[in-house]
């Protein structure tokens, strides 16, 4: 049951190229890697971090959280717009949660995909929280506009991580 593969002429290629816009994923991963020291023990910090449905209690950029099911949350941002994230892993022993972007909204957050991990470790004074992950810019084509390029994605993801960590610290040290 062989079918002849469609061959593309070089002239036809430019058409294909023009029609390819934004992909859910791309060949250029970017990184976020932020830490903070919090003056609270690991168990206390973990209680806050593990509550996947309670992000709005400590993240200053988050307006509200609506749970779609046990492991899927809709994050409504204060800046407007919603993104949907799904929980991949919650490891109480390692004090680690991992989640990913399920439904993108490039106007709210200029990324097409991410996986994020938040881990709580014991530190000299209290706990260290590490917010790290891998993500892709909003427009994964080779000619992204400025608001959808790698720099825009790195900036947004880094800011969201740092403000989140600071919010977490503030909520636990008050």
């Amino acid at each position: 049951m062989n079918t002849i593969i469609k061959k593309l002429s070089l002239a036809g290629l430019s058409l294909v190229f023009m029609s390819s816009s934004v992909f859910a994923h791309g060949p250029t991963p970017q990184r976020v890697d932020e830490q903070i020291i919090i003056d609270a023990d690991v168990a206390t910090v973990w209680q806050q971090v593990m509550a996947f449905d309670q992000l709005d209690k400590w993240h200053p950029a988050v307006e509200s959280i609506t749970m779609q099911d046990d492991s899927t949350r809709i994050v409504k941002l204060k800046s407007g717009g919603e993104i949907t994230e799904s929980l991949d892993e919650s490891d109480a022993e390692r004090h680690y949660i991992g989640y990913r972007l399920l439904t993108e909204n490039v106007e709210a957050m200029p990324v097409s995909f991410y996986t994020i991990g938040i881990e709580v470790e014991a530190a000299d004074k209290g706990s260290q929280v590490i917010w790290s992950g891998r993500f892709y810019r909003a427009d994964t084509g080779n000619f992204p506009p400025e608001n959808l390029n790698d720099e825009a994605a790195v900036k947004a993801m880094t800011e969201f991580a740092t403000s989140g960590l600071e919010g977490l610290k503030a909520s636990l040290e008050k």
Binding site: I5, L13, F23, P27, T28, R134
Partner: protein, 311 residues
Amino acid sequence: MLTKTLIYCVALLPSMVMADDFYITSQAGNQLSVFDSQTTEIRDSFDVSAAPVMIAIDKPDNAIYLSHPEQGKISVLDLNSHELISEIRTGGQPFAMVIDSQKSQMFVTDWSRNTVLVINTTSKQLVDLLAVGESPAGIAIDAVGRKVFVANRESNNVMVLDADTPDLHATIETGERPYAVAFNPHNGHLYVACVHDDSLTVIDSKSYKKIADLKPGRAPYGVTVSDDGKQFYVVNQNDNTLVEFDAKSLAISKTIRTDKMPESVVLSNDQQHAYVTNWFSNSLSIIDLQQAKQIQSIPLKDGPRSISSAQ
């Protein structure tokens, strides 16, 4: 005496490429590094054109091919001198590459144009474009059986193309977001790592049937097969592990911790070690397979993606 020395020198020339060398791309660092597996050291590291991702080495032709998806090109380096020989301007986003050992050609997935590019490795020219599924990522070849396997990431399938004629033999459904593929010539199985639903689809390349759906771990990425075909290996990006599968029973025989976000895996020439590039940690894990543990972690330039043997 002089003649003797000269002959000796000439005889030495082809061995400049050490059989134990492995090449590693660092996408963010724009570097190609040479890992000497005998001394377990990075022997050399040098600048290449921006954002290299995948590597294909054509040993008989002394060529290293590097894909630069964001520049829409493939650079060709001399395997001995590491000098740039040629740049193939493909357009689109050339990604994974596979050399055809039986013919002077190479197949390349083009992520953004949904095509497979056929490149003549003698003339270094793009000679054909074949339409495949959406966002083709990984690619593998059965050079003897004359088949090319392409993982269409956004179509959730694998296409089997003919290596000689523009024929599509089959389209086989896989798990969600198939990324890497590896072919086992000993049993004709194809292993497809599916990043999104954490599965690994095993396909019989003769009947074109899916024969198993395995669970290697979270976000399986790179896949490789041992030389004897008895084992295959998968790295799980979100678990930070390397798992070994028994190719017969399809059961996991080993789970080994790596550094953070492992990306790709190859085996040493003697099959005693696995080498894993860790994208997040910027490191190379050296894993002793007998002991089933990481015995060394070597720093790499920023954003390591793929690793390939020079053998």
